[in-house]
Amino acid sequence: MIARMAWRNLWRNQRRTTLTIAAISLGLGVLITMVSFMDGMMEMMMEQIARSSVGHIQLHQPEYLEKKSTNLFMQDGEKLAAIVADVDRVKAISSRLLFSGSIRSSLSSTVRVVQVIAVDPEREREFSGLVDKVIAGGFVVPPPESLEGGAPLRVQGRKGILIGKKLAEQLKVELGSKVRVDCAGFQGATTAAAFYVTGILRTGTDAFDKGVAMVALRDMQEVTGAGDVIHELTVMADSTENLDVLAATIQSKLAAAGFAEGTVVVQPWYDVMPEIKQMLDMSGAWSGVLYMMMMIVLSAGILTTMYMVVLERKREFGVQLALGTRSSRLFAGVMLEALYIAGLASAIGIAVGAVSVAYISTRGIDLSGFMEGFEFAGAFIDNIYRGTATAKVFVEPTVVVFVGTVLCALWPALKVARMQAIDAIKQGGTTN
């Protein structure tokens, strides 16, 4: 009974109610959009980072990350990879060797120092965002389709190398050129080897375009004569949840297979690159600040709105009191109205939010017109921002706004309950 009356009360002043609902629902829509955007950015960064060589979990020799010494490698790379690949939840793996070396060609006197990354091209492909940045040739190995023209034929069967465009320019090389790479191999032994340029990439950042050269893992193992060793094994899991558990599982499986704890350590990405985690936390903190600020404004707005609504109807309440309605009923009535408003606003807000989320999660906000991506912690990050469309994006803000609306109605409702009929009628209604 009260319920129906409350409902009718609402609609007696259509305009007022509509405005109120409109405001709250729009506010909710904006909030939802914000959460979607922030979440999306976060996820995008994490995914990009995972894709760009960091992965979800990494394996190293225990001291390698700290000292970065070439001699801190893991043995039995193949066996290691096989065991890890077999673990549940592991989607893809890639092994690597890392060296610092210098590179030169016959076409120029310059010698450049580069970071040499030896990978398994097939596996690394699934990880690396760099695959999309190749502008000529293939990803370390030449693509089979490109078997026409002089260069690719020349490199067939040879050790291939993928270098950045700027480096290629400095060395004056092109696809098929022979280059010589010298690095400090294991135990300080000097290693010199010949590679043929099978791919050129362009990322727009000097770190890659000038300073990185990628070769095949097998080739590097052969050249250094080290055999089946690797510096790093990267794992891509099915999701970013519970990586610590997965890491522990992998560690124990390895221990069981003979890889003692002292030889291999398995870590989730945030232990390997704490700075990435920190940056994400930082972004999260900013989002949090924004969220809070928006909530403050929204709450202030809703509170004021509800209060004004009640104020406006003072006369009406006064009359009801005079007619004998009990305060408690008035109170309940106001609260119910607020409930309806909250409900309607939430529904509409979700609808509004859904529309904008749909837009930003599919089309995304593309900034790549302004600038290319950038390099962060060895990862390459692109510039299209998409929002996410998970349940959380909708549920959380809605709940907050719903509850907030109802709560904001409390104070005005209490005021109503404490009204005196005569004062209300005298003061109420419109002002002057």
């Binding site: 210098s102 060609s105 016959s106 280059v179 010298d182 191999g185 290693t191 080897a193 010949a194």
Partner: protein, 259 residues
């Protein structure tokens, strides 16, 4: 320096009296087999050899002349010490196997040259650290192609092409060695980039008789054709071939203190 010794060896291979010469070819072609034999002979003779001497190096790029003493023990030990100019005297470099150390008396410090600097120039010259330290083994790194006859500066010569094997860490597309037809002394050596342009060229001049009866060049010049006006010229002041040299010549102590 290695190059020098290798070249000396290449040249010194066919002695006029001892080795049975194949029949002098009448057409202007040196068959593949012949070319290979030449290389073989040279490498055989170089085994177990040593040399010691003094030389001068002029670098056009910096317009600078240096004097140095050198000791070399085939296949992979060498020591060089600067004797002039005075402010650089005492500096040296020591090669043992693949490792290269350099010493500077001004700071009394021996530093191991990291692999990333192997391709850097040696002492500012047009030779690289790697040129100096590479062990020679021509057959390992190159395939030998049949040669052709021509003349150079009025001397009749053979041009033999050496092609680096695809996997050998030599950047050049090919090398062409030109030797005199009569005594197989090297006249010049050309290095070609992969586009076929001449990138470097080494000239061998001033041949003098030596105790072993094989004339060898006392002057050779490496010209960099990719960068204008750059060459390095080495002039041997005195040199002696020996059967061997004491191991203690090639130590760090020796690098620092000299002998």
């Amino acid at each position: 320096m290695r190059m020098m010794v290798a070249m000396v060896g290449l040249m010194a291979v066919v002695c006029l009296n001892e080795c049975p010469l194949r029949a002098q070819p009448t057409e202007l072609q040196l068959g593949a087999a012949e070319a290979e034999k030449v290389i073989d002979d040279m490498e055989e003779r170089m085994r177990g050899k040593a040399s010691v001497g003094e030389m001068e190096m002029y670098i056009k790029r910096w317009d600078r002349t240096m004097r140095m003493k050198f000791w070399e023990l085939y296949p992979d030990k060498s020591l060089v010490r600067l004797t002039a100019p005075a402010e650089d005297a005492g500096m040296g470099s020591l090669k043992l196997g693949k490792d290269l150390w350099s010493y500077n008396p001004k700071i009394d410090q021996v530093q191991k040259i990291p692999p990333s600097l192997m391709l850097d120039s040696w002492m500012g010259s047009d030779f690289t650290n790697d040129d100096i330290s590479r062990s020679s083994s021509i057959k390992l790194d190159y395939t030998i192609e049949p040669g052709a006859g021509t003349t150079y500066n009025g001397v009749e010569s053979w041009r033999v092409t050496l092609r680096p094997k695809p996997d050998s860490p030599v950047v050049w597309e090919k090398l062409v060695v030109e030797v005199a037809r009569d005594d197989y002394r090297p006249l010049r050596q050309e290095y070609y980039d992969e586009k076929g342009s001449l990138a470097r060229i080494m000239y061998f001049e001033d041949y003098r008789e030596s105790k072993s009866g094989k004339p060898y060049p006392y002057k050779w010049r490496m010209e960099n054709r990719q960068d204008k006006d750059r060459y390095t010229e080495m002039r041997i002041i005195s040199m002696e071939f020996k059967e061997t040299l004491p191991k203690k010549t090639f130590t760090i102590r020796s690098l620092k203190r000299g002998r």
